[in-house]
Symmetry: D2
Subunit: 347 residues, 4 copies
């Protein structure tokens, strides 16, 4: 049994990590830390975590995080680097923030407006590079892992198989994604009030300014072996959880419905968490609620000359906390699927 601490356990991502760890047979929940919520009972901030309702949140610091085999960081962007630097090298540190996701310091500066903290192995095990190598190779035994953003997980897994198979053009990818409002976090903002979001869809970060844009481009570029450019528009959907990414790219000459299907099938046939649906069945976010699975479907639109790939993930599970635990499993040498839910909670 290894022990894990969760920094930022009062937020939505942190709470989801705790939820998953409570069902994990090989990792024990250690310190749960918070900032302004330090001193609160876990049951006050996350009443759904019934078995740990009486656990008290402690202050986030290198001291409270010390002595664990794994430390999950679920902190605001920019907070991870300083904290991680104080943790011993042999501790597995899994960062759910953005700080170490990008390899390109210039893209970081442009989109985040601060100094680039560095680059850690990217925690999307199923993602393949142009040569077919999966990212999981770099994660086995890793001591630092950058968990992908929720949108990039959905968008990258949707389209990458077409790039690896050479069936998609790199330029002019267009992605529109819908996210449940937990993706916006627990901060108090008027536009996130229930009365505002129920019954409403709205876009945000339009025009290439959303911070997940360079991360999607980075992932797809590695899959394509060429620079991929993406028009990315996120939208807020009236649901608590879930991302539906509708991703389209121009079909390369010679791409056929059969070759497209074959490419996606090949990519995911052996992946336990990525499920290519049977032809004609399209993903629904409800089917992956609380699950670490991704549901994927793809079609060739011959009239428009585009391949349309759709992926559904739970932004908090496979989109954040599930990926974090999956990467911890790889880092610790455990079977990759250990303790992770494969079924959604539906209807």
């Amino acid at each position: 049994m290894v022990t894990a601490a969760v920094a930022g356990a009062s937020g939505y991502a942190g709470g989801e990590i705790v939820r998953l760890l409570l069902a994990h047979p090989a990792i024990e929940v250690g310190a749960l830390t918070a900032a302004s919520n330090a001193g609160s009972r876990l049951g006050e901030v996350h009443p759904h975590l019934t078995p740990l309702a009486d656990r008290v949140l402690v202050e986030t610091s290198a001291q409270t995080l010390a002595g664990h085999d794994v430390v999950f960081l679920a902190l605001p962007h920019g907070a991870s680097a300083a904290l991680a630097a104080q943790l011993p090298d042999e501790v597995v540190v899994i960062d759910c923030g953005a700080d170490f996701r990008l390899g390109d310091a210039q893209a970081w500066a442009q989109f985040y407006g601060s100094e680039h903290a560095g680059t850690w192995p990217y925690g999307l095990p199923e993602l393949a590079d142009r040569d077919g190598a999966r990212h999981r190779e770099a994660l086995a035994g890793a001591r630092r892992v950058a968990v992908p953003g929720c949108y990039p997980t959905a968008c990258s897994l949707a389209l990458a198989p077409g790039y690896v198979a050479g069936l998609l053009e790199p330029e002019d990818v267009v992605i529109v994604a819908a996210s449940g409002t937990s993706g916006a976090g627990k901060g108090l903002k008027a536009h996130l009030l229930g009365a505002e979001v129920m019954g409403s869809m709205s876009p945000y970060g339009v025009g290439g300014v959303h911070r997940h844009t360079p991360e999607v481009e980075q992932n797809l570029s590695r899959a394509a072996g060429a620079a991929v450019t993406v028009s990315f528009t996120p939208t807020l959907a009236p649901m608590p959880r879930g991302i539906l990414a509708t991703a389209t790219a121009k079909a390369a000459p010679g791409a056929t419905a059969a070759s497209v299907r074959e490419a996606w099938h090949t990519a995911y046939a052996d992946e336990p968490f990525v499920h290519l649906l049977p032809e004609g069945q399209w993903p629904r976010t409800a089917d992956v609620l609380g699950s670490n699975c991704v549901h994927v479907q793809v079609a060739l639109d011959e009239r428009a000359g585009r391949v349309v790939a759709v992926a559904a993930v739970d932004n908090l599970t496979k989109g954040t906390a599930g990926a974090a635990v999956q990467c911890a499993n790889l880092a610790l040498g455990l079977p990759e699927t250990t303790g992770l839910p494969l079924t959604g909670v539906a209807p």
Copy 2:
């Protein structure tokens, strides 16, 4: 006072027409007809139409529709042509179905799989052709009008200004739109049950097969003066009403943020129902709930070389019934906005 009959008053579109007519100062509600619901009280099928709760639905037929100045048809696709042929030429017939929307008989055959019934003036008054002429010119005094599909209304109004202004490339438009589930009608289908749709987003009709695709292309092609091709993906969103269309097209050489904004401003400055939001504010479907307004916003994504335009409409109001009443106003020579709500019901 003119009188209007509504054929198909038991469906969602028909019910919305009745709702709007009840607030209309110049049109009186006449016969309300239905198929399997004939004989029912209106209050059984549309309890929200309180003032007409005791009105009894009668059988849809040329006889029951006779004697009205205006007949609104809110029928399943394919049912309008036969009925309309039996109505006198001088009666204003407003068809909310698809039968008479397309000018291209071949596109009709391909997407609808039946013989083309013909083409009526297209009921999107605000839409402009390449030469700047608005569709409303053909609607003044018309005796037959084809009300646009709900998606085409949102998609066409989102992008048309850029085509009229020469700022967008015709090929390779990509549109992803989210619709509330009333857009799928009142038919009993398992995937439309509340337990299935709440908390879930899912696409359908993916790959260029949705029947609204050729209608969007027809509209944008007229605006562009060139053949526009569209990749269109509709998605089902967990809300009763509303469409959010996220539409992107390649920016033409020389397009700038300023010229883009100017084009959209010029297009809609004098339109009472189309509201270009101030820069930085993006449409939300809740803000047009029950309203005949369209909220529009646009941005140039210079990195991706695309213009992203977003439109929010209520699929049942401006997307169907409101457009029908607006067109009836034009046909009857009434002020175009007569009786139509300009405010949404929010939050």
Copy 3:
């Protein structure tokens, strides 16, 4: 044409008053005032009020409210008294807050913890006293009106007919009501975030502590001509608007299904805004969305010896702003229904 100012126009109640006034044929929208939002465009805080998007909110003060025939106060509890005192006696002041609703200073002190400001005519025109007199009698020509709370409107209209008819016992009324989250206002509270409320029902103010309790008791006591005691439990429902009040009282000896139905029918047959549904049809909040109507149904449970009455209202329309406009109509000598919507926006 009379003019009206709205104090607190940036909140949900204030915004709804503006929405209704925009459709009112005899009242013109004057000054719109706010506290922290003064200086903002109305389109920023209420994008659904499209026609007034560019109107700027001004500071709430006796000066900005001066010069109007009607002043609607939509302010936090406790703020109305001081402001109203500065307005001329001949101005119609309609207070949507609680300050002047209760006749019992002791009940006020117990539930609100402050000094009682006084008692104004109570703005529930349809409510009847034991002698059958309706509250509207005191509202005709009134210059000060206290608009009822949203829950009391639903609860009182549900049960009052049984008291007036002598069919209900005064002691031991039990009411459980569900409200959409706009009822909690626009304040930023973690439990009102969309991610928290969607998919969730929860009670609050349990155990007789909710401030609407004495108001319901006051209303029912007047209808009963005896002291009515109420166990009231409000719950938060995952919807933006609407109240469903399920109210039960012990049947008096001799009450029968027929006499119960007759009593409710008699009470509301001539009321334009209160609609007793046909037997067997029960109210749904969606059917009164955005409408000033109340849908009511009642049944006698002979096994349990209780009458169960259910009322659905839109908390922002008939529950607050619609009642305010209705009372303004009465105060101004206009027909009571002027400008008020009788249909809901459904589905």
Copy 4:
């Protein structure tokens, strides 16, 4: 490892049983049967059960159910008796239907309108009789178990502690409960369409006619040692899952806030699935989503002379399928909590 068949696996209850069994360490999923869906892939009807997507549903019959250690019946009311009679006595049969829940044949006839099939041990392990004995005693080693209805689970657990402790009066209990729409099943009914239920609350089965009424009375009467009468009103809430039961009973003479709290604390301190929240914190259905836990809170309303107890359960998990698995655990001699989730999926 024991094997289990699920009859009626295509419905919501059946699907939830499969979901729970997939996470159960000691029970293996055997035959999954259906009626009209026999021959379908499980992935078509329950796409969220990803690991078994390719499993084919077989016809429900004694033959297909043969050879399993446990058979779960998730069938329409009335279908269980005939089927159960064909299963060997030594097989554990867990019936999620109503057929064997009631002990009173007359109440069965009155509420279900058919002949009473009999009475099996009642599967609510935590429920206590007047003498403090828990129902689980009759479930250990049982070969036939009647799983409670979803509402009776919430209602009975809410109030029973007060009866066992002698703090509540038996007559005149009033319960209003809100349920997610999955509680109404997967049958195609117009009022269950997403467009109808989203944004809406409505009651049904009002006036003492809901079939769960005698079941609640039966449970509370055993706890009280006296005949308890209940006014029960169920309401449909705009959420997929979850029940919130607000239950009130008259306080017996001498009941105090302290004695009430003590009684509920005593009742549930050692129950793994029933969680009495800290004072002042009230249950939310979202917190038990997908969990086998019940969240309970209670307050004494001294003004009204009533105790108000609120329970939140997931109607499909603890309300049906979780209880079924919990009872199977008891029947099989496994630890009662084996394989059952203690955390909800929130937000």
